[in-house]
Amino acid sequence: MILDWLQALGQRALSFFQRLGRGHITLYYLLIAIPSVLLRPRLLLQQIYSVGVLTLLIILVSGLFVGMVLGLQGYNTLVRFGAEQSLGTAVALTLLREMAPVVTALLFAGRAGSALTAEIGLMKTTEQLSGMEMMAVDPNKRILAPRFLAGVISMPLLSLIFGAVGIMGGYIVGVGLLGVDEGAFWSQMQANVDMREDIWNGIIKSMVFGVVATWIAIYEGNDATPTSEGVSRATTRTVVHTSLAVLGLNFILTALMFGD
């Protein structure tokens, strides 16, 4: 009984470390394939379109609504202390430091990450990747690395767009609807948001999330069991693992960046 339990535990641990190992081998191959992607910018542009541009709509809409909610809630809290003038700062800092990188990464996992996993998983299931290998075309260079680089490039840009649109949302609600002074809204924001401390740290976060989210999506697709059930499980794992990884990493990064 106990032996069975121990055996099952050992098996789980082994399979965990095997997956971890395969994940890192995938990352290694992705990284060494990047130079060859740079030589074929057309492949990269196609992928930036499908990974980044097609994710734009959900980012714009979500950014706007998140910003509007922040404006509303921020106003309700600040007005009690007579500090509604600081609404611009509150909205901008919340968005740039935390919400934009994190929510963008979560949306990215749901929209682009799952699509990447499903696409690659299906290519594996239908032997397209294998077929490519037999045509002496390296799928790492032709299929996986362009998608990886596209994700890594797209994420910080999407995050910046999310932040900018979110600030507009906060502005519409705060200034447009609730009557916060427009000059105070912008000037406080300008005075209190620091380029390096706030904006760059947010960008660094979303770069890290870009690497992690795309890496997980590509690894899961490439490692999927080549059946329809396998692909569906891999897609689910992509979203779950990416979300957990992003939230966990965000805490660590926040502690490192803003901890003191």
């Binding site: 239908t126 032997e127 397209q128 294998s130 077929g131 490519m132 290998e133 037999m134 045509m135 002496a136 075309v137 390296d138 032709r142």
Partner: protein, 275 residues
């Protein structure tokens, strides 16, 4: 040079390969001669597809060597292996066409990846390959619009796009209607002779394969259990060859999956159901 010409294109010696606990190949020796069509036959699950993947270097054997054109496939560096693969085509059972490209682009794919041909020359080449498989008119169709037989012919056009020395066919006749089966049978023979290829056909369709093969290997239980020209195999008194070629349900290959004694199994049924 003369010796090289007569040496087999693929030489497999002492091949052993396992998937998990299950031994797929247990000491297979096999030669594939240049210019001919060699068929590898056997019941489903004998690892015929695995053999093609081993020859293509996609899988590694436990032991033994596979030499293609004098090069040990599994000792080659990645670059050299890819160089070698440019000279062999593998036709997957599913066709493995790239689903986001149309027929023309699928055939053009290896040419675009490996050559720097001007567009007009590339177009001519692709149309020549498509003409050879009778699908020049289908160049704008997407893979999802093709029937199974057409998809396999497109995949064949793609496999010969780089003018390989060898083409390997994985179950080319499975699931084909009689007409497209006949078309594929003729195509394989015609392309082999016209392009001076070496062909390897993996199949369990006895009649079709025997009609075009120059030499046949019969695989079962991880071993070569029979070999020879179709004529020789047909005349052989090997129980195995006779069972397979005539399609008899029972023989050296048992009809039943290994199981405990039938009567005993039924007797414990009522207890087994309770436990």
């Amino acid at each position: 040079m003369a010796q090289e010409e007569t040496a087999p294109l693929v030489r497999i010696r002492g091949l052993r390969f396992a998937r998990g606990e299950r031994m797929i190949f247990d000491g297979v020796d096999l030669d594939i001669h240049r210019g001919g069509i060699t068929a590898i036959m056997g019941p489903s699950g004998t690892g015929k597809t695995t053999l093609l993947k081993l020859i293509g270097g996609q899988l590694r054997p436990l032991a033994g060597t596979i030499e293609v054109d004098g090069q040990n496939v599994h000792r080659l560096s990645r670059d050299r292996l890819y160089q070698l693969r440019k000279r062999m085509g593998l036709l997957f059972q599913s066709g493995a066409l790239l689903t986001d490209l149309n027929v023309f682009e699928n055939v053009a794919f290896p040419l675009r990846e490996h050559t720097r041909l001007p567009e007009s020359m590339l177009r001519d080449l692709v149309l020549m390959k498509l003409e050879a498989v009778g699908l020049r008119g289908a160049r704008t169709l997407m893979p999802s619009e093709l029937s199974g037989g057409m998809a396999r012919r497109v995949a064949l056009a793609r496999a010969i796009a780089l003018d390989p020395m060898m083409v390997m066919y994985d179950e080319p006749f499975t699931g084909q209607d009689p007409i497209s089966m006949g078309v594929l049978v003729k195509l394989i023979r015609r392309l082999n002779d016209a392009l001076g290829l070496t062909s390897v056909v993996v199949s369990h369709d006895v009649q079709e394969t025997a009609s075009i093969a120059d030499y046949i290997y019969l695989l079962s239980g991880g071993k070569v259990v029979g070999q020879g020209t179709p004529q020789q195999l047909g005349d052989s008194d090997s129980a195995w060859a006779q069972q397979f070629l005539k399609g008899e349900p029972d023989g050296p290959v048992p009809f039943h999956y290994p199981a405990p004694d039938y009567v005993e199994d039924l007797m414990v049924g009522s207890e087994g159901a309770r436990s």
